[in-house]
């Protein structure tokens, strides 16, 4: 029987493709609107009826936003706090997870430490801001890098995720390393770290995204432009420009959003798989 080589598209399939197109438009439109507005000249933004595509594209909004508030400084602060907090979270979580799974310490000690981690999962970050602010100002660390970073320097969730991942790794490899005389330190760095890399990368990516976007804690702990991070700086820009210049505000928004979009494009697979794995196991 001669088979039809061209795959036939059925009506339900057409409907599904239309639905998918609508989804892409609904999700993408706000971001496109943001991007296009950042290329519009002021008089084009304040026109009725307005435009969707920029008529006379301009790059002027970007330097204007960059100079309206000290964006360079905000950017540096965001990079510093994000990098330090992420590195700290990954290292501390890896050490803790390794010790909870592979040391032969008494059970009560390991269980006790693990219980603390699990209990911490139940305390949401936003609840503790007021007492943490009091602690930080008592230490005179308000408006400082350590003030921004320290409450976010450890992650109970990441520790939990890494521990579960380590439990799923073949134990014999670690045993073999132990018989060969490798110390815990060597076993951690040379055996477990390479094997746990996918989980470690997931923990790192989560940390980067949450630090970069964090708003409430930096909002209250910083009070000078020297210390403000990008989201707070963007909010300052909005307050100074007010409702007067959406083009400049949208350009500022692109500064904040673009690095995460680039990160996502590069590591989409890791992020989405990490999320799904976290849900399946948790």
């Amino acid at each position: 029987m001669p088979s039809n080589t061209r795959p036939r598209i059925s009506l339900p399939q057409i409907l599904a493709y239309i639905a998918m197109a609508i989804v892409i438009i609904l999700v993408g439109l706000p971001l496109i609107w943001m991007l296009f507005a950042s290329f519009k000249q002021t008089d084009e933004i304040y026109r009725m009826p307005g435009t969707f595509f920029p008529e006379q594209p301009t790059l002027m909004n970007y330097p204007a936003a960059w100079n309206a508030v000290p964006f360079g400084r905000y950017f540096a602060n965001s990079v510093i706090t994000t990098v330090v907090a992420t590195a700290s979270k990954m290292i501390l979580a890896l050490f803790c997870a390794y010790a909870l799974v592979y040391t032969k310490a008494p059970k009560w000690l390991k269980d006790g430490a693990f219980l603390l981690i699990v209990a911490a999962l139940m305390v949401p970050g936003q609840v503790v801001i007021v007492p943490n602010y009091v602690t930080m100002s008592m230490l005179h660390w308000a408006d400082s890098y350590q003030g921004i970073i320290l409450p976010n320097a450890a992650t109970a969730f990441g520790t939990f995720l890494l521990r579960q991942y380590c439990l799923g790794l073949p134990y014999e490899v670690v045993e073999a390393a132990e018989i060969d005389g490798a110390s815990h330190w060597q076993r951690l760095w040379l055996v477990i770290m390479p094997m746990a890399q996918p989980a470690l990368v997931t923990v790192g990516l989560f940390a980067v995204v949450s630090e970069w976007n964090d708003f409430l804690w930096p909002l209250i702990i910083t009070n000078t432009n020297e210390m403000r991070t990008l989201p707070i700086g963007l909010y300052r820009l909005y307050q100074t420009e007010g409702l007067q210049n959406w083009g400049i505000i949208m350009a500022g928004t692109v500064f904040v959003v673009a690095p995460i979009v680039l990160l996502f494009v590069r590591s989409q697979k890791f992020i989405i798989e990490g999320i799904a794995a976290g849900a399946v196991r948790g």
Partner: protein
């Protein structure tokens, strides 16, 4: 000390050495603040004065007797309930759609997931502009049909609707990714068996897909509740809790009492209230989860 105890001691010391920093930080910035919050709630203090005045339960009595507090509780409930129900509906629809064998579905999954990762403050600004009742995208669009845009800054109903829509737009992709993973995990022989027994499409959805997805749906609901309950950036940037407290929710109020009005006592009370609500929710989740596993 006998021979056996030496390795045990060494192992214990290794454990302590490896976990100490992590555990110390978690205790200092997660557990200690809970105790400190309870303590703060019993005092009258402005964060600056060297003296705290002990007032006992008076902060609690005043808070629970305040009509604004109950309005805030109601707002929190309305915001959380509408956000979570809409998010779960959208996520479920998206998951069903993006599990079909369509070309470009991987790419679309990526697009749908992206908003979850973006800064809430930035997204709030974009939606502020979209919903701007003079020059925003919605106004421009409605202008074509000669319809006037509702005012999202002055109308209490539309202010709440605006932040709910923004939240749903930002969160739905997260739920969708989890539900897609759940759909992939469903045993295909179930569908084949049901098809042989003559089950229609709707019957398969109701009797196979939804029950098999139940644990995942529960996960999405719970993380959605916790997320909505804690959302601050979108509300701060879009409405500032207004107009006249119409979008003032617990976490926003915590910020307002603490860092706008400098009332440490009421802020402490709110810390305790939010924590207790979260604790109850978590315990409920664990119980429902345990029951699901037992069946």
């Amino acid at each position: 000390m006998n021979r056996r105890q030496i390795p045990l001691l060494r192992e214990s010391l290794t454990l302590v050495g490896f976990v100490i920093l992590n555990i110390t930080l978690i205790c200092a910035f997660t557990f200690y603040p809970l105790i400190q919050g309870i303590q703060l709630s019993l005092y009258q203090w402005d964060f600056i004065s060297p003296f705290k005045i002990f007032v006992g339960a008076r902060n609690y009595v005043r808070m629970f007797g305040d009509r604004t507090f109950w309005q805030i509780m109601r707002n929190t409930f309305v915001f959380t309930f509408s956000t979570v129900s809409l998010t779960v509906l959208c996520a479920f629809g998206l998951a069903l759609l993006l599990s079909l064998p369509l070309r470009g579905r991987e790419w679309t999954r990526g697009v749908v997931f992206l908003p979850t990762l973006l800064s809430g403050a930035a997204i709030a600004l974009v939606f502020n502009y979209i919903l701007d009742d003079r020059y925003g995208m919605l106004t421009q669009f409605l202008h074509i049909f000669n319809i006037k845009s509702p005012s999202f800054y002055t109308d209490p109903f539309w202010a709440m609707a605006g932040i709910v829509v923004t939240m749903v737009w930002k969160q739905a992709g997260y739920g969708a990714v989890i539900l897609i993973a759940g759909l992939q995990g469903i045993d295909h022989t179930l569908y084949e068996a049901a098809a042989i027994d003559g089950a229609g499409r709707r019957a398969r959805l109701w009797y196979i897909t939804i029950p098999s997805l139940a644990p995942m749906l529960l996960f999405v609901v719970v993380t959605g509740i916790l997320g909505a309950f804690q959302s601050f950036d979108i509300i701060k940037v879009m409405t500032n809790g207004g107009p006249i407290n119409a979008t003032n929710v617990l976490v926003y109020n915590l910020y307002e009492r603490g860092f706008v009005n400098f009332e440490a006592g009421p802020a402490g009370v709110l810390t305790v209230v939010i924590f207790v609500i979260m604790l109850v929710l978590t315990i409920l989740q664990l119980q429902v989860g345990a029951r699901n596993n037992a069946v």
